[in-house]
Amino acid sequence: MKIRYFAWVREKVGVDKETLDLPGSVTSVTHLIEFLKARDERYATAFEEQDAIRVALDQMHVEHDEPLGNVQEVAFFPPMTGG
């Protein structure tokens, strides 16, 4: 699965995108965040304030309890500040 990070999430994780093979137990956004946090200190720091992180599946905003289904691309980022 392709994972992208933006803004300070990207800076904390240290990469802007990566492709990961996920275990079958990772079926929702929340599971994916837990999986990432357990990988490495950088992810643990990036996702420390987990509720503040926004997520998009295949470029659509979703909530953390959304199932991952067959999505190709997951993105994590802080609340938007455009406009």
Binding site: F6, A56, Q59, M60, H61, A75, M80, T81
Partner: protein, 156 residues
């Protein structure tokens, strides 16, 4: 109030500057059914002389897709004759253009409300993030999302 045939909005996400006038003219020129044209231009402020630039990061692909989704809502909600949205990314100096919304309609309330609606949702849903660069040369960090913007977006 809904338009029987919603217009197709023009959406652009680009690093280049835009010409607000030209975009407004494109929506009005040669037409005789446009009674109201509302143009919103968002500009980079220097925050009391503190900033040398804002740097806008965006999510390519999703930025266009999300703005299109917001614009489709606006076009189905108000009887617009035209809608143009341009959002820039990259480094923008104080006084420079960041975002443009032009809404055209036969009626002024529709044009005002559609432009206002677009801006509220561009702020809270379009995947862009601003980083401040200080005159001192440092990078100050990421602009925090404002509660006021969330409150504004909940009006609709």
């Amino acid at each position: 109030m809904a338009n029987p045939v919603p217009v197709i909005a023009t959406i652009r996400v680009q690093s280049e500057d835009f010409d607000a006038t030209r975009e407004a003219e494109l929506l009005a020129k040669g037409r005789k059914d446009v009674g109201a044209l509302v143009t919103f231009t968002g500009l980079c402020r220097d925050e009391g002389g503190r900033l040398s630039a804002l740097e806008l990061e965006h999510y390519p692909g999703m930025a266009e897709a999300e703005i299109t989704r917001i614009a489709e809502q606006a076009c189905s909600r108000w009887p617009l004759t035209g809608l143009t949205v341009i959002h820039r990314f990259g480094k923008i100096a104080p006084g420079g253009n960041i975002v443009l919304v032009v809404a055209a309609s036969s009626h002024r309330r529709a044009a005002f409300e559609a432009a206002d609606f677009m801006m509220d949702f561009l702020k809270t849903r379009a995947p862009f993030w601003k980083k401040e660069h200080l005159l001192s040369g440092e990078s100050q960090g990421w602009v925090e999302a404002s509660d006021k913007d969330d409150t504004d977006a909940k009006r609709w």
